[in-house]
């Protein structure tokens, strides 16, 4: 479970995130929806501990993440905005590196690495260096290394951005699986169909603020539109809660 309360982050005089509050529950997929530059990535970066909020609190499974960032991070699996791989390491080695940093014991680590690579259909790349991977393959390896320690909470920053249909489906399948396992999944997107197809709960962000929060149906009702896309444009476009 992840709870953000009144998060604020300024870059100079610009408020990138200006009072974001929401909760993402276990066994649920929460979507962070917003146009480019709305503050999605900055919000996520504060949640996964690579940026400090100027004010506000973050709780990860009831751990105060601003006071105990490493303890909180141990409970997070993250596909960050910048998820570069090491070109000279194989897929297996990338996943193993993160598992070792999490302190996994080697027998268990090998088992999980193989299992993850199999689930994500990456076995053919397991022992090949990542220099020549496609974008989709790189994203899947980055997801695999984020999940190696079986985190209770999974944060994905635009996971399907730039992926082809097959890879997009694979990523969606992972998200559904994580939900079925009772994990808390939070992902950001600016793609409407994706959010409506996957999410139990949607947080619409615009101009660094939460402009709406609810189930897809609730959002449609709130905006007074049948299509979620119209609802989104109406909600996000105003930049102010209605």
């Amino acid at each position: 479970m992840i709870a953000a309360t009144d998060l604020k982050k300024y870059f100079g005089a610009v408020a990138a995130v200006d009072g974001v509050t929401f909760t993402a529950g276990d066994g649920q997929v929460t979507g962070l929806l917003g146009p480019n530059g709305a503050g999605k990535t900055t919000t996520l970066r504060m949640l996964y501990g690579v940026m400090r909020p100027d004010s506000g609190t973050i709780e990860v499974d009831h751990i105060d993440a601003t006071k105990h960032p490493r303890d909180a991070q141990a409970r997070l699996g993250v596909l960050p905005d910048l998820a570069g791989l090491y070109p000279r390491l194989t897929a297996r080695e990338q996943v193993r590196y993160y598992g070792e940093l999490h302190g996994l014991e080697s027998g268990l680590l090998e088992e999980r690495t193989t299992e993850l690579l199999r689930t994500l259909d990456l076995m053919h790349l397991a022992d090949r260096r990542s220099a020549g991977y496609s974008h989709g393959e790189r994203t899947k390896v980055a997801i695999a290394r984020a999940l190696v320690h079986e985190p209770q909470n999974v944060l994905l920053d635009e996971p399907t951005n730039g992926l082809d249909v097959m890879s997009t489906r694979a990523v969606r399948a992972i998200i559904r699986r994580l939900k079925a396992e009772g994990r808390c999944v939070l992902f950001s997107s600016h793609v409407m169909q994706e959010v409506s197809a996957l999410c139990d709960s949607i947080v619409v962000i615009a101009g660094g603020r939460v402009v709406a929060h609810g189930t897809p149906d609730e959002l449609r009702a709130k905006a007074g539109y049948d299509s979620l896309e119209d609802a989104f444009v109406a909600l996000a476009g105003s930049g102010e809660p209605r």
Binding site: Q73, V78, G84, R88, Y98, L101, H102, G103
Partner: protein
């Protein structure tokens, strides 16, 4: 019974980072080639320089003296040809042109009135034609001049005895040169290129890994993902610095090993040195040079973390490497007399220690300890600075 406590989590993470960086960089062919080249350049330059110096010295011992007008001074010519290592030849038609063309390095010209002057005990003139601008033949020219002075003194002494005067009366001064430097110290002056090469290896060996693990990590976009792991920034920085320090140490050991191995093949005896390089010298070199790798790795990591791109980091590396070069050049131009404070200055201390070890008059263990501790402390400060940079969002996200 006290049992050792378990290895702390951060220490295991340091090891994980260290191993990963080493594996990663040893697969980097470009990096390996550049490290290999930088390791080989030192010994090659050393071997080349030593060989040339030895050759030149050998040339000075064996001199060939072309003489124009040898007929005018048969006694002198005979005396010269009796000296060891000297051979006499017939001089060229135009001595000055021959020396200018560098076909001869020196020519003796005996004028026709030599014999008459000599017989009547007037100073008989003799010309030594040489090119003072040529550094490579100076030794030989000096040898010729010394031989002539010696001949002159011998004849002078004989003439005095012939007139019933003791030659001692004509020698008011007896100049004795007391050489205080040991032969090994003189050798060290010639060997001063080795400390420079060893210090350079500490920079070049660590450089590629230090840049790749910091500026490279960010440029590849893998830094943000790495920072999401529950690892203290200090452990990340320490792992990376240790990995590049190990690479630097490897370069230092290979460079020192090859340079000193070369000494066996170089005719050092012909330089008038009895230089014996043994295990204690090698231990001394390592004790002086290995701690400096921690310093080079941490300063390079810190600077490369600060750089906005991999390219920019490489530019900074080029500037950093000037530090040992300046010390090396200064050390060659102005012979460094060891002052105790020098051990407390990173790099300079190591340079002085290395030179001393090669000179065979290594200072006590305290000097090594002081120099090493200063290195480790400076490295620690730089590590803290790197951690501060990794905690800076502007640096991590390049704003």
């Amino acid at each position: 019974m006290k049992r050792p406590g378990p290895v702390p989590r951060w220490a295991r993470q340091v090891r994980v980072v260290l191993v990963k960086e080493l594996v990663d960089s040893f697969r980097d062919k470009r990096a390996l080639v550049s490290i290999l080249l930088s390791i080989l350049v030192g010994p090659l330059i050393t071997g080349f320089m030593m060989n040339r110096i030895a050759d030149r010295q050998k040339d000075a011992d064996d001199v060939r003296i072309p003489i124009v007008g040898a007929r005018n001074a048969p006694a002198l010519v005979q005396w010269l040809s009796q000296q060891s290592g000297v051979s006499v030849a017939i001089g060229p038609g135009d001595p000055e042109q021959a020396v200018r063309d560098q076909t001869e390095y020196v020519v003796l010209v005996v004028p026709p009135d030599y014999a008459a002057d000599f017989r009547s005990s007037r100073p008989a003139s003799i010309k030594v034609v040489a090119d003072g601008a040529r550094a490579d033949t100076q030794g030989q020219v000096q040898r010729v001049q010394r031989l002539l002075a010696q001949y002159s003194a011998e004849i002078g002494a004989l003439r005095l005895i012939g007139r019933g005067v003791s030659p001692a009366a004509a020698t008011p001064l007896k100049v004795e040169e007391v050489e205080v430097s040991t032969t090994q110290q003189r050798a060290a002056k010639l060997l001063s290129v080795i400390p420079l090469m060893v210090l350079l290896a500490a920079f070049t060996g660590a450089m590629q890994l230090a840049t790749d693990a910091t500026a490279g990590e960010r440029e590849r976009g893998s830094l943000e993902a790495l920072l999401v792991n529950p690892v203290p920034r200090g452990a990340l920085a320490l792992g990376k610095v240790m990995a590049s320090a190990l690479a630097g140490m490897l370069a230092v050991m290979v460079t020192a090993g090859l340079c000193t191995a070369l000494l066996r093949f170089i005719p050092l005896q012909e330089l008038g040195m009895r230089f014996r390089f043994g295990t204690p010298h090698m231990v001394g070199l390592m004790a002086a040079a290995l701690p400096v790798c921690l310093l080079t790795a941490s300063v390079q990591s810190c600077v490369a973390t600060l750089a906005k791109s991999f390219k920019e980091a490489q530019t900074y590396m080029g500037i950093l490497i000037l530090a040992p070069m300046i010390i090396g050049v200064m050390g060659t131009l102005y012979p460094i007399d060891n002052q105790p404070w020098m051990y407390g200055v990173p790099l300079l201390g190591q340079y002085v220690l290395l030179t001393s070890v090669l000179g065979g008059y290594a200072p006590g263990p305290l000097a090594f300890l002081v120099a090493a501790v200063v290195c480790v402390l400076t490295a620690g400060l730089l590590l803290r600075a790197t951690v501060a940079l990794l905690n800076n969002e502007r640096i991590v996200f390049g704003r």
